[in-house]
Amino acid sequence: MLTRRPLDVVIVGAGMVGAACAYYTSRSGLSVAVVDRGPVAGGTTGTGEGNLLVSDKVPGPELELALLSASLWRQLSEELPKGIEYELKGGVVVAASENSLAALTATADAQRAAGVEAYHVTSDRLRDIEPHLAPDLSGGCHYPQDAQVQPALAAAELLSAATRAGALVRPGEEVAGILRDGKGAVRGVRTARGELHAPVVVNAAGTWGGDLAALAGVNLPVLPRRGFVLVTEPLPRLIRHKVYAAEYVADVSSGSAALQTSPVVEGTPAGPVLIGASRERVGFDRTLSVAVISRLAAGAAALFPALADVRVMRAYHGFRPYLPDHLPAIGPDPRVPGLFHACGHEGAGIGLAPATGLLIADAIRGERPALDLGPFAPDRFDATCHVT
């Protein structure tokens, strides 16, 4: 029998965010265990797309997180096996009307001031960089920092690297309780298979992060925001960038529960084209919505008329972990000593995972985090929400 060092950290959740937390904490010398009730990447990480975007974020704390992550992803792409399909492919945002072009240009100006690379593309040049785009668009913007990974592989490889650094990964084990000492501080978790003791527990339970917080007696209002994705038959490289309509940015930041769809189209190294993105808050409803996927299809065919005759092979959906102000919860929970949160990244958890992992590792080690954690404070909803 191997005798192990006592654990410093238990991470709940083996999705992209939990994997990144495991990677940075274990490589900083902490003794770490990751538990997940399902397989690796079995939650939202396995049901999303892998865009690592700065283009869809307006200046503010999320953009700072995204920029930090973008540089970390570049490092990770050197350290991890090529199989994670990292591609610095760049994003192209297009506007179909003069009005939306004006809005896009204003956003790009502000982003540039915040450190984003953004280049205006006139309507006559759009097809030089993306040849199959519809001819009648008003113009667009090119964002070379936007990149892509295959999320499930990236999460699995991060966990595998964490394992090599000594982390213990335990899939198929549900956390049913959070253990507390007499003073209320965390001392581990209770799972179906027993207890795991550690002075720090990280909530990386994604869309289910609210339930995990509740196990520790605190409120964190994470809600599911459903999204559908269409996958086409494999095609020769037709689409070079991540391409989406300017309206997408407004949809992303909408607080409404109602359905929003704006076309997001991209090729993948394996050939299929992925078409997103819908957003609606309908709980965990798993039934296919024909209305939603037909709107996605119509949007994609409008951007790329050449796709009209292409066959859609499958449709899938996932539930983004949504917090009401569209910002994740990252950092220590002042209400429960030893409890840290790393969840609620909504539609950007793949992109934002490395920065989250790094910030969590720094915070656990008591080092000054690279970014101000204030805007991500896990207790920021307490003034308006109450545990029910």
Partner: protein, 488 residues
Amino acid sequence: MPNSNDEPGTRETGRVELAVVGAGPAGLAAAVTAADHGLDVVLLDAAAAPGGQYYRSPAEGLGATRPGALHHDWPTFTELSARLAAHRDTGTIRHLTGHQVWTVERTGDGDWILHAVTGADEEVRTAVRARRMLLATGAHERQLPFPGWTLPGVVGAAGAQAMLKSGLVLLGSRIVVAGSGPLLQAVALSLTRAGARVPALVEAAGYGAYARAPRVLAANPGKAAEGARFAAELAGARVRVLSHRAVTEVHGDERVEAVTVSRVDRRWRPVPGTGRRIACDALAVGHGLMPQLDLAVAAGCGTRPGPDGTHAVTLDEQLRTTVPGVWAAGESGGIGGVELALCEGELAALSVVREIRGGVRGREARRAVALRRSRRRLRAFADLMGAVHRPGPGWREWLTDGTEVCRCEEVGAGRIRTACEELGAGDTRTVKLLTRAGMGWCQGRTCGFAVRELAAAHGGGQEPGGPDRRPLACPVKLSTLADLSGPG
């Protein structure tokens, strides 16, 4: 004309009382029974002619004169077809041939909308609105990979049979039939009748295993007699039946030249040193059938694992699924053969009638009781058959790391094992995400069973997961989907 598709565009039908998907034995029996009782029915099937897998007719123009020669109960089909034609004439049944249902959805008021595509280039969309839905979508063949199975000349056993029934050419002149299950006997006989030489029928299980359930056998004397008849006919056709054996390798450069047949133990593990080469120019191989569940799963119906290792729709005695307003019959509810499919189709229709009318009259009630009794008896036999021929865990030892498991995406067995042992996968979905196995054109219909078994073996005891979800039952053109969101 029941279905003349001259102009492209969308067609919507008015709301009907019952939509039946699948015009195989189960769906056909269901549709005509429901129509006999006065329900208005839409019957949809992807094929050009009714009959499903079993009563498959030759395509017109191929000059086949006696389609019944390959079926022992063709009169049953002729009778069902005649009733179907009569109901079509009166308009009680609208029969939409060549219509592939790609998804089903429930409306706010509890109706079902069945979305189908049809036409040579699938340019016509149809949406059928129905109060109730009966799924009789049948099954497809279960495949297990082994070294060489991707070589030209290796075909599915059911596929070989289907080619024969459709009047197509033989795939070879010396054909080994292999795998497991009673289908193989029928296939071997059909091939010899069509003029091929079948040097061996290679069965991985042993027929003796049936004797372990004498009560079930005694209740199904017809099945035992059928088995004896098959054995005699195979002997007459000089087909050697090799049980407890499996094709563990296929040889040939461009196409099949020979196969290696090895002895396997009770768990289907090849016994070293028992391999023997048999020369042949084709191999027809199959390991039974798997229920086609895409529409049922899309509708939210519960499923259960069966003794044959496949998942099937969960049904009650009335053939109701777990979703109100949805029934299923035939192989959707578990593999069981044509007799069971006919029985369940009729029973399911009577159950629908009963629910709509709030009861059935004396004669129908008695008929339903008799059908339920037959069903129990036939299901017991089907369960026995499923257990006897369920692939033993040792089949995995036929594989080398390089053996392709997913042909569409060219994923080898070694990569699946690495994904499980090194990257933490333990279920089919994660294996798919980490290796692309099952992401290709067939969407895992071919490799799904094998991947599940490999994940279960290498995944450190994780739950391999339920049936695959395929919300789109078939590929659909982007423009077809896009049109649905147009005005109207």
